[in-house]
Every structure is written in C-alpha cells, then in structure tokens.
Symmetry: D2
Subunit: 360 residues, 4 copies
C-alpha cells in the first residue's frame, strides 16, 4: 500500500514534535512536508529544539521547513498552530482541497466542524458532508480534536451518556506540557500548584464537552443539555491530565453496573481497527489510589483513558477520577486517529480505503 | 512573666518537630518535656531525624525523651501522636489535670471535645466546661485542632456562615508533609498526582467541617446542616494544602460583597491578640492565578489562609480556591494558638491570665 | 524453541518488578517461579505493590510467591535480594546447580565471581569455569552485574581502556529509584539534593570500576590499576544516573578521536546479537546540553549509555558526562543480558545454544 | 540616623525582586528609585510579575519605574541588569558619582573592579581607591559581587587559603533561580538534570575563584595561582547551589583541623557587624548527609555557606560539599552587604559612618 503524504503545520512546537514522533513508521501516513513560522527555510534538524525524549527520527532531519503560506501537496495537513495563526489558514487549506486535522482551538466550536474523538463520537464525522456542501469544498475539510483537558471527561462520560447526563462538576490537575514550550516557567511550578491554567480553559471545558457529547442531528450537532462547572489547575507533572469528576445522571445505576459500562465500552468497529486506536478506549482501575498521572498516562500507548475511584457524591450522585495523556490522546494522537478514520471512511482524495482493508 | 511548661508527645515525628520549631522562643511557653515511643531514653538531639530546615534549636538537644507512659509535670501537653496511641492516652492525661491540645484525629469528633480553630470558633471553647463537668476533670481537658485539609475550607467559609451554607463540594490538592515522615515515598509522587490520600480523609473533610462551622448550643455543638462532598488528592509539593471549593449559599451576595466579608473578617479581640494569631485570619488575593501553594503557604507566618479566584459556579453558585499551611495552621500552629487562648481565658492551672495582660 | 524457565528472588521489590517487566514476552526466558520473604504464600498479584507504570503482566498475577528457602526447578535464578539475604543464598543455589544472575552487591567483589557488563567485559565470563572448578559446581554459578552508578562510568571508559586509564574522578547525580521502594522519602528529596547516597556507595564506585575494567588473567581478574575518587549525590529524578567524569589517560588523543572511539565501540559479535543488547552500547550526543537524565535514560530501551560534553579538564585532561538507566542497564536489564550470554555460550544446563542460532 | 537612598536597576527581574525583598525595612538603606527597560513608566506594582513568595512590600508598589537612562539621585545604585545592559551603564553611573554595587557579570574581571565577598576578601575594597585614581572618579565606583556558583566555593576555601590551594576540581548542582525568570522551562527540568548551565558558566567558576581568593597587591589583585576545573549542572530545585569540591592543599592538615578552620573562620570585625552579615560566614555540618540544598540554603538568612562531608580525595587530597543560597548570598544579599561595607568604611558621599556607630 502506498502511504499518504501528510504535512505538519507548527512542526517545531511541542505538539508538532509529538506529531512527528507518533507518525514515525506510521503504517499509512508519511511525513512529507513540515511548515512553521520562525523555522521556515531551515532543515528541520537545525530548526527544532527537540524537547521529547531521545532525538527526532533521522528521516525527518533534512526536510526543509516551509513557510505557513506555502502550497502544500499532501492530502492531509495536521495543524499544531497557535490559535491566531490557525484562524485564517485552516479553512483556506480546506478550500484548496486539504483535509485539515487540527489541534488548534480556533475552529472547534464552529457549527459545521466536527469536534471528533473517534472512539466516542465518530458519527459526528457526517458534519464533513455538511461542511463541504455549505462551503463548496470538494476534497477538503476541517476536523478538530478536543481540548486536552476536556478529553478525559468525555472519554469517561460517553459510556454513560445514555443514562442522561444532567450536571457535571470537574476539577482538573493538568500537566505542564499542556502549555507548550517553553510554556510554564520552572520557577512557577516546581513545588507548587497554580489554581489557574489560562483565560479560556474552564469555558472550553464546559462548552466543548457539551458539543462532543452531543448528537448529530442532520445538519448540525445537538449539544448535550447539561449544566457544567469546570475548575482547571496546573500541577508539577510532565504529561497527563487528571480530572476529578462529579456527575448527576438521570438514571441511577449501581456502581458495578457503571463500571461494567466502562469496561465494555467499545468504539465502532472501523474505529477500533485504526492503527492509533487503543484496544479499549477506557479502562477502570479497581485500586483505591488509581488512576495516577505518571503510572497511567501511557496506557494504550497514551490513547486509553483510565478511570478510578467511583464512589458516591453526596451532591451529584457519582464521583470518580479520569486521566489521559494530554499530548497524545489529548492532541496529536487523536488528530492522527481522526485522519485514519477519514481515510477508511473514504474522505481522503486519491485514496482507496480498500487498500487498507487489503493489508498494510 | 514566668513561662508555662509544656510537654510534647510524639516529639520526634514530623508534627512534633514543627511544634518544637514554633515553640522556640515562644513568649509564654517553654518546652520542658518531650516524649515518644521509639525515641524514649535518648537525648532529643540523638533521637531525632530532623526533617525541617536547618537544625533543632540548641536548648532542646539535651532533653531526654520520656516514654509516653511517664508522669508529666507540665500543665500543657501537646499531642502529635498517631491515632492509635492517642486514644488511650489523651483523656488519661486530661484526667490527671493536663490541658491536652491535640493534633491527633482520635478525639476530634467526640461530643464534648472542642474542635477548635481559634479565629473562627473560639466560642466552642465552652465545651471545656461541659467536658470537665461530665468527666469530673478539674484542671484538665482535651482540645482538638482540625484535620489539615478541612482547615482552609472552614477558614474560607466561616466569614460566609451567616449567609447559610447549604451544599459544599471540595477537591483538595495536598502536600506530602500531610502524610508525616517518611510518609509518601518519592517514587510514588515525583512527576505524579495520586487521587487518594487515606481511607478516612474525605469523610473527615465532610464531618469535621460540619462540626467546626457548627454552633455551641449549651451542652454540645449543633453541627452545620450542610451537604458536603469531598475529594482528596496528593500532589508533589512540600507544604501547603490547596482546596478548590464550590459552595451554595442560602443568601446570594455579589462577588465584591463576598470578598468584602473575607477582607473584613476578624477573630474575637482576645484571639486576635494571641502570639500565634495572624494579623488577619484570611486574605483575598485579587490576581487571577492565586493562591499558589508555594508562594502563599507562608502568609502570616503560615497562620493565614489565602483565598482567590472567586467566580460563578454554574451548579452551586460560588467557586473559589483556598489555601493554608498544613503543618502550621493545619497542625502545630493551631494547637499552640489554642493553648494560648486557653491561657488567656483562664483555663490553665496555676496560671494567671492577668500576667499576660501585664507583660510579655 | 522451548523457553528456559527462570526464577526471580525478591520478586515484589523495585528491581524484582523491573525483572518481571523486562522478561514479559522475552524470546528465550519464561518466568516460572517467584520468591520473596514477606510475600511468600500469596499470589503475586495480591502480594505486589506495583510501582512501575501500568499494571503487572497478566500471566504473572496468579503465580504463588515461594519462600526464599524453597527448592527451585528453574535453571536460571535472578536475584534482586537485599545484600544480607543474598549472602547465604546465592552460592547455595549455585551449589545446587542454578545459574544465579544477581543484582545484589553481596558477591560482586568475590574473586571468582564475574562482575559482568556483557558489552564491555564478556571475557570475564571465563571466571565461571574458575568458579566451578574451585567450588565443585557443575552446572551452577554466581554471576554479578554492577552497581547501578558505576555502570555509566565503565560503559564510557571501556572504549578508552587501551589508552591507559590512570586517574578517575567522578561525581554522580543519582535517581531515587536506585534506593528501591519505599526508599527515599519524598520529604527528603523534593526540591532538594542530598550529597550522600549510602555508606558504601562511593567505595563501590571506586572498587567495582577497577574490577570491571580489569583483565581476565587465567585464574582471576587483574584489576585496573587506576586511582579513583568518587562522590555520589541524590537528585529528584525518577530513573537514570548521570555521572560527571574527569579522567587522565596515558595516551592523549584529540577530542574527535575519543568521540570516534565511542561511536565505533561495539560489543563482541555474540553479545551484540543478544535479545537485550542495544544496537550500540554507547552513543555520543553532540549537543552542548546532553545527555539529560529524563531525555536520554531510555535510549536503546534503557540499555544504551549516553555520553556528552567531552572537553578539556585542566587537571586530569578529559572531562565529560555519562548517563544510563539505573534499573535497566544498571540492574535488571544487564542481569537478563548476562543470562542470555550464558545461554549462547553454553553455560545453561539442558539448554542447547544451537537452538538459539536456529531461530526463536 | 537618616537612611541612604538607593536605586535598583533591573528592578522587576528575578534578582531585582530579591533586592527589593531584602531591602524591605533595611536599617540603613531606603529604596528610593527603581529602573528597568521594559517596565519604565509604570508603577512598580503594575510592572512587576512578582515571583517570590507573598507580594511585594506595600511601600514600593507606587514607585514609578524609571528608564535606565534616567538621572539617579541615590548615592548607591544596585545593578541587577543583564550583562549587555550593564556594560555601558555601570561605569557611566560611577563617573557621575554613584556607588554601583553590581550583580552583573559584565565588569567582574575588570582589573580595577573589586570582586567582593565581604566576609572573605574585604581588603580587596582598596581597589576602589585604585579605580577612582585611575578613572578620575571622586565619589563613584563599581564594585562587583561574584557569580552565584563560585560563591560557595570561595566561602569554603577562604578559611583554607593560607594552606596553599594548588588544584581545585568542582562539580556544581545548581538551582533554577540562577537562570532568572522565566529562565529554565519546566519541561526542561522537571524529573531531569541538565549537565550544562550556560556558555561561560564553567569559565566564570574557574577565573572568578582565582580573583576572589587572590591578594591585593598595591595596584591590582594578584590572582590565586591554582589550577581549576569546573563542571556546572542544573537540577530541579528552586534556590540554592551545591558544589562538590575536590582540592589539593600545599600543607596537609588532619580533617579535624580543617573543620576547626571552618568553624572558627570569622570576617573582619567591621564586616561581621554589618546588618546583612551572618553570625558566621560558614558552618560545618557533621551529619553524613548534609549540606542539603533545601534544608540548608536559608542558614543565616541565606547568607551563611554550609559545608559538609569532608573526606579524603584519593586524587587531590580533600573533598567535601559546599552550599549557599544563590540569589541571596550569591547575588542580592552580597551586593547589599558590599554596600554596607562601603558605608562603614566611608566610601559613600554625604554619609558619615559615625552615624552608624552611634545608632540604628
């Protein structure tokens, strides 16, 4: 099978690097183009200050970084741009035929943009057809993945959605990598907790959860009608966002049945077969002191959410903790999984999904 | 003025050391006796593995540590014992005439034991009279201070109590020193968050808050009738517990009036004059990213609670963060302040409170 | 190929867990027996407090932990015992026919025990024949791997050994996992550096390096005749020991030739083919700020040493930094690699090394 | 006594903030002027992102920050400028009559600039007369304090200087605050050690030590004739630089006599009486695991160096660890102490040192 070329925008940043790391030896995709603002014109190996472990993959080092205004030949474009750079660019690229899988927050709440976490709301992908019809796109589209903090929340709540989610109170403990690089100054976070993440973080938590847990209703997403209260804090850990969740459900079930819902939750069949999909989207850990950020963030190669400590909340009924890897499941990993789903569902130009079925 | 002798039980442990540090050069109290289980018979300087900064005060090094079963001559006994050791001992010492100011959890919820945080519920001290009458004590009594995590919660809520506290949801981020020494293994907490503190921690949060915020009703404390839901987590910081609080009040006030209640909150006059009392029991920090554990834990020499980020909670009405030093305000510091209050209110045998008024 | 059964002594401890993790899906070895002191009689899944990431492998959970005094049927025994438990046991097991690959310090400096780091001194394995002849062992033997801190030092110096190592001054910065579990209390190490590791650590650094870099001389190891000065410190990192090294060489070479020696250094052919051997035993990192503990400890799946910052030492001639993973290359990983080497060199009873050649 | 006005250049930076904190309630000095580049024109309270504990002193909040090019009226100017800004400015200010006590590295190695650590080389202050004569200054002068890492080294070696320091090998473990703010990114240092501090750090260690430990020889400093090899590393601690030191002395003394030299070392009488001087410049800690960065950095209010672990170095004879607070003793605290010494020795215009003797 011929691999599909992909471009990465914002390739030298923290999320851009994670894209490169996760796409190394990807069975379907080949990193063909890299672009960035400050680094344009340089070889990637020169331009990047690699902050992940080890060193960048060898075959990427000599790729010359393009300007963001370049023409891209790759059918798929991954965007790890900051919000301001993403706003004008992403729809322009879609208009010129590119599938833009974006990690930027810029277009997440746009009505005809799917806010996709493939394991839990793959049906939202139908918005791509709406988007194409409305905007006159033929092969292009913009598909967003969620904010890294709302992600463990929706992963944990999706299996309970049919019980009726009424009210939702969340308090996050977020890793420093969520702020990019250089991001959080070490003098600000060592031996410290900061009860604030950024101006919009709590609002994003509240609104994006409602969209992701909503239903595709023909032309748009019918957002979840639930009251949500979010608090976001920053803690001194490298990767992994943990969220303490209290939730009120319309239908009450015993704890073991709730746990059973998590343990048996499965993605749609074609999603479950994607290269980046974990064996199980969520796991429930029975130990009294799990999930722990460092020990559970890499479950399922960083694509599985871990849940634990289900117990009674005297106010909302249920409470528990949920955790997932913020730059894999919460950013680059989910973006790549989204692109994989677009491929198997026939949304990528010049790409025959049967080729995937036939074998990699 | 002649200083009052005090004994410290559990003197070599983490909280015991904090007692010694805070009592160094205390204007009213003199550390005369030290006791411990494993360290009995040794000079304190030999027995202790000093874990606080610098070294123990010189004048304490040669005091021989007594067994816990010893007879103590000091009118005041500070208890930093583990729960199991505290249960038989504390009331025995009270029966033999000692004022026992205890940091142990053993007797906090006993009906006739005041759970005292002098700045906010000094009137609960009247329980000492109830306790003495009921148990036949003459000069002795057991007075408890609160769990270190509930403390910032009650400090923040006391100024709002008259508005009617109906429901209360808290999520804590707690320092490692709350677990004593050796306590939390470094392999468990570095680059990690543990969403669990100990078996009873969340229940203590819920029940102790109701007692501390309750009213003295002649013979007993009428506990606060509020629904409380607590979640406790451990984070990699040395000292300082931060709690994210959502609260429902019967009477709604605008944010600036709530802040005004905090800023103008004052302890009773005699409490405010105690050597260990901070200038203000609580402060409200207007910055969007405060209170921070490392930067605000030492406010008021560790005796002031810091509050910040007051904003709307879509579920309970108000939310904010509160922080205080867990081993000073939340343990030894409050115990010492309690003993000071007992002294000025005439509860210490052979001690004339007028002496305090006259000098120091 | 039929896998060889192995037993793990001290299976629930920190290094024991690392053995289990690294042996999961090992191509030649199968974990058949587990033993421990406190955990004997329980199923491993019940007995262990798993401190590594995720959870123990499923197929290990139901193995009942044996007492240390049990009879073991496995030809290979991995010892992760504390020193005192190791002293009587390891030679007894060798006497009853077991190959004992030990991570304990107890027998490292015994004359006829090879202190083996397969990539650099595989010829020391000939001591096994000496040991068997001297002690009347037939199929058994005790083989030790090095202290976790001396390991990066000998990995970095082995390629330079032929230049004549005269004097060696080392200052280590060691991870907390080197102290086992619970090991270092978090109150001791968070926001701290401790300029002391344990009573014998510096002496081990000095003497073990001389043995490992020595030459097999017929009956014994001719230790390296070099003056060594070691300082060991503990730093707040999870895994990975970094050592700052100054060295005096008899023969001076330009820096680029020293680097060339590192880059071209290769293990003997049969060592290089072992399942646990890294592609290259050492790598030289040209960046001015590498190796870094967190970013480079997992190079070569934790089996590669990383070297950097080669520059002039005004006192000893050369200085540089070396780093490797202390519980993989410096403990369990090297022990397993040693057992692999024993297998291919025909030292394991009932095991035909040709089976390995024929394919796994 | 009328306080002397002082100005702080670079007042909003990390070291500038430390100046403000330490000068709060200073008995002799009054912060009258603040200057900075980016913050000029704003009230200090608006301009500063306060990174130390608590909040800035109230009486500083409304001072308007001046541009660096302003005319200053204060006789004393403290410079916390970056090197490039310091080069043109510091001598210009001295030329216009200001005593410039600088923490910048720019002018430290200039021949006629004293590199002063008042407790150990107060006699170098005579260079001020040389500087004034040579440059035609009347009341002005530039006085530097040392690099924050070399400081614990010279504090520890000054008491041994008369024994003849021949060779010196140092490996530092440095706090993040040494890099200023934002300085070290948290993603770079959490769970990590970086074996590199900055391009010139090791060279500064080597050359500044020789100057500070040198002798005033009429017109210039005769630098110490010792071979020095320095390695600098960054560790995840907030404040405090620890240096592992090996040293060769011409005259050998038993360990207890070396320790006695440290314990009895005293600054010149007038230095010892300065407000910022610690009771003892250095202390020797007998515990086997001290000095520790977190526990000992604040000894003597951050102005005392702590030494420990004296033992034999097989290569250079003696080895030990030394530690001091990098932004107090190693920066702002020493600068202020230097200014105090200039005051009592009559170097400040319009200031009568007898006033100090008479009161305060």
């Amino acid at each position: 099978m011929q691999k599909i070329d992909v471009a990465i925008l914002g390739a030298t940043g923290a999320v851009g690097q994670r894209f490169i790391q996760l796409l190394d030896n990807h069975p379907w995709f080949r990193v063909a183009e890299l672009a960035g603002k400050a680094s344009a014109g340089k070889a990637y190996g020169e331009a990047v200050n690699w902050i992940l472990d080890d060193n960048p993959p060898d075959d990427i080092l000599n790729i010359t970084v393009k300007t963001l205004e370049s023409e891209f030949t790759s059918p798929i474009v991954f965007s790890a741009l900051p919000k301001d750079a993403a706003i004008p660019l992403e729809f322009e690229l879609a208009a010129t035929g590119h599938i833009v899988c974006t990690n930027a927050s810029a277009n997440r709440m746009v009505d005809d943009v799917p806010l996709l976490l493939a394991d839990i709301n793959a049906d939202h992908l139908q918005l791509v057809d709406v988007q194409r019809a409305k905007r006159g796109f033929t092969t292009g589209a913009v598909i967003a993945n969620s904010n890294c903090t709302v992600m463990p929340v929706v992963m944990a709540l999706a299996p309970l959605k049919h019980l009726g989610i009424r009210r939702l109170l969340t308090v996050s403990e977020q890793a420093i990598s969520g702020a990019g690089y250089p991001g959080v100054a070490s003098l600000d976070i060592l031996d410290n907790v900061i009860p604030f993440v950024s101006k919009d973080e709590e609002e994003k938590m509240e609104t994006e959860a409602r969209k992701m847990l909503g239903d595709f209703a023909g032309e748009t997403i019918q957002t979840l009608n639930a009251v949500s209260s979010a608090t976001c804090t920053r803690v001194p850990v490298i990767d992994g966002h943990l969220v303490n969740i209290s939730v009120e459900l319309a239908e009450k079930l015993p704890f073991d049945e709730i746990i059973h819902l998590w343990e048996t939750f499965a993605a749609p069949h074609d999603v479950a077969q994607l290269p980046s999909s974990p064996a199980h989207p969520v796991q429930y850990l029975p130990q009294q002191d799990r999930p722990q950020i460092r020990r559970d963030r890499n479950a399922g190669d960083g694509m599985m959410a871990s849940i634990g400590r289900l117990r009674e909340c005297p106010i909302l009924g249920y409470k528990f903790a949920a955790l997932a890897h913020n730059t894999i499941r919460g950013a680059a990993g989910s973006s790549i999984q989204n692109a994989e789903l677009l491929a198997v569902r026939g949304y990528i130009r010049d790409f025959n999904p049967a080729a995937v079925a036939a074998g990699a």
